[in-house]
Symmetry: C2
Subunit: 411 residues, 2 copies
Amino acid sequence: MTLSKSPYRGTRDFFPADMRLRNYIFKKWSEVSELYAYEPYDGPLLEEVSLYLAKSGEELINEQIYSFKDRGDRHVAIRPELTPTVARMVAQIHREVAKPIRWFSIPNLMRYERTQRGRLREFWQYNADIFGGGTLGEIEILQMAVSLIKSFGATSEHFEILVNDRRHVEMIFKEKVRANEEESKKLYKLIDKSQKIPHDKLVEELKLILNAPTREEAFLSYLSSKDVPEFLKQMQNSGLSEYVKFDPTIVRGLDYYTGLVFEIFDKHPENRRAIAGGGAYANLLQIFNEPSLEGVGIGMGEVPFTLFLTSHGLLPDFTKPEFDVLVAYTHPDAGTVAQKAAAILREANLKTELFLGEAKPKKIYAQTDRKNFNFVILIGEDIQIKNLKTQNVHKLKVEEVDKILGALNGN
Amino acid sequence: MTLSKSPYRGTRDFFPADMRLRNYIFKKWSEVSELYAYEPYDGPLLEEVSLYLAKSGEELINEQIYSFKDRGDRHVAIRPELTPTVARMVAQIHREVAKPIRWFSIPNLMRYERTQRGRLREFWQYNADIFGGGTLGEIEILQMAVSLIKSFGATSEHFEILVNDRRHVEMIFKEKVRANEEESKKLYKLIDKSQKIPHDKLVEELKLILNAPTREEAFLSYLSSKDVPEFLKQMQNSGLSEYVKFDPTIVRGLDYYTGLVFEIFDKHPENRRAIAGGGAYANLLQIFNEPSLEGVGIGMGEVPFTLFLTSHGLLPDFTKPEFDVLVAYTHPDAGTVAQKAAAILREANLKTELFLGEAKPKKIYAQTDRKNFNFVILIGEDIQIKNLKTQNVHKLKVEEVDKILGALNGN
């Protein structure tokens, strides 16, 4: 039987060029997180399903989760998001550690999705959370989000942060719309899809929920409001005014948000999509019978983020690997000298490819089209060190192989 | 209902100290791989089970694999090893790329194991493979293995590489033991467990397989042989003689090895275990209906490797995070200046924690017991920059916050 060479649907093979791109993004995400004194963490790939049942939205559990029974009959799932895991971990240690707790992670997650542009089944997601930081923590998460994205060369021309506050929305629902709890829940769902349906459809559905013209009007007036609410003013004073915009339609689907909610959007007209999102939650530790500890989190997926960078031409070229030296030999007896040269170069932290087996210079130089090297060293009757930038050639005797590093640095 | 705070059995929560250790190991593994011009890659978390059925050993499939049906009724498994994946990926591209292909990866893998010291259900494993490198590729993989381990400060006192060659064993089985194919298979299994059973038990089982005293004697003579076979001599000339030792009992359980086989052992008497293993295979691409391309691979798990480093005291202390500056304010109006100071420091690539909210110096300095900082900056009536190594204090006026970087560098 011949097996398929393709990866499982919605997952990817990361060939070296893809992997260099992924490493580039993850490295910057990690570096910026550490500039904000966030510490790295990770959780397990599998969690018991009960953890997600307690906190994730219904769609995630019923339609998107990869769950199964293990050989010991435990109902487990491949993590579809990291927030329940971080809550579980913080519940273990929050009594003993100083607050705020600042953590970040870049896990691989899986969701059973209909695959489409920007949406895959296996993907990586940057997660950062601050626990016990209050309103200043909310500001810090947004400042860090801006730094994360700017570190790739993006500016406020490329992205914007649309924010809202669930406390603000609650207040409007209660005082202006005079909605009860059940109505409020339905209104949240309606807001969540308000951008995706035509206005008359929205009005129609609204009528079914509220059935009172003045209340419907209060809701619609909220939905089109442009006045910057009080909660936003402090943010705008914290270097965020260029990036942050109030948007009454942002409420976030996930059940656990209780304060700030935000989504970061690509401004590119042909790639108008959310590249990150998050918010503040007060009660994530309750399911572990722990006192409440408020937190703020952000999630940013590598798939939409890569599309964002691509749409603005912000991605370097990762096609070829970057190495320092190609060492090769053109004489059958020179193999041992070539190995010695490679060992000396690697000892000096130079990325060194050893061409395996003796070969003609032409064949050896063909490698330099496929990979970026700074130097080629050919060992035959003598040792030739060629600087590929300057085309300078420096020669050593074969017995002088120990001097190769000096000769290379001087060339 | 109160949920458990513990991770799923056999998996781990990586709190920041654990994660710093993991990052330390992975970073060195990646750096050394790049010194040898190996390129990074990764495959999907899930593969279709048919891929493993084709090549992995029976024990893996029947007892250890996490497999299930997805929502589309495909039989998939969480990867228990990476070799089938790398073979699938190389099968896609090997016709177009220059050989040898040198790749490395550090995936998370899962196996349903009885958990014990050094054996967990979720673990990470360094994998490197060279395709199309011939015997020189075998030598290179072992040289790189030595460099990988030495980069952590280990020497030949701490580890050894036990090697054998399946071609050598085949030859002995055929010419000395005169075993047919079925007998050979049984003899491989017997060798594989020869270290774990008493000698008389071994002799007994051997009799059941061969039932001819001269042939049994030939087998036992092989098993106790100390003569270095021809295949090893070239290796010993390649800077490997300190590390490499012939061991007739090393044959490796996995079915796909056809040439060199090796295991790297911790020499510590209290932690005598394999920390890495691998070998050469000729026929991994056949299941994809591709022409054969020989390769050599190594796998090194982070769990046994960490035990190895621990047993020799080679692990740095990762308890506390290493940051550059703690910025705090002692006056309620100084929050904005503190934010500005933090922004300037981060712009200069300094890892900067901003203490959220005004506080007394005592409370602020308490942070420096829990995390390593080089500087503390207190903003109140003025800006105080304290160097925690020298205890020097430098002062600026609050209006001079823009000069903070110069003041810090001069302090």
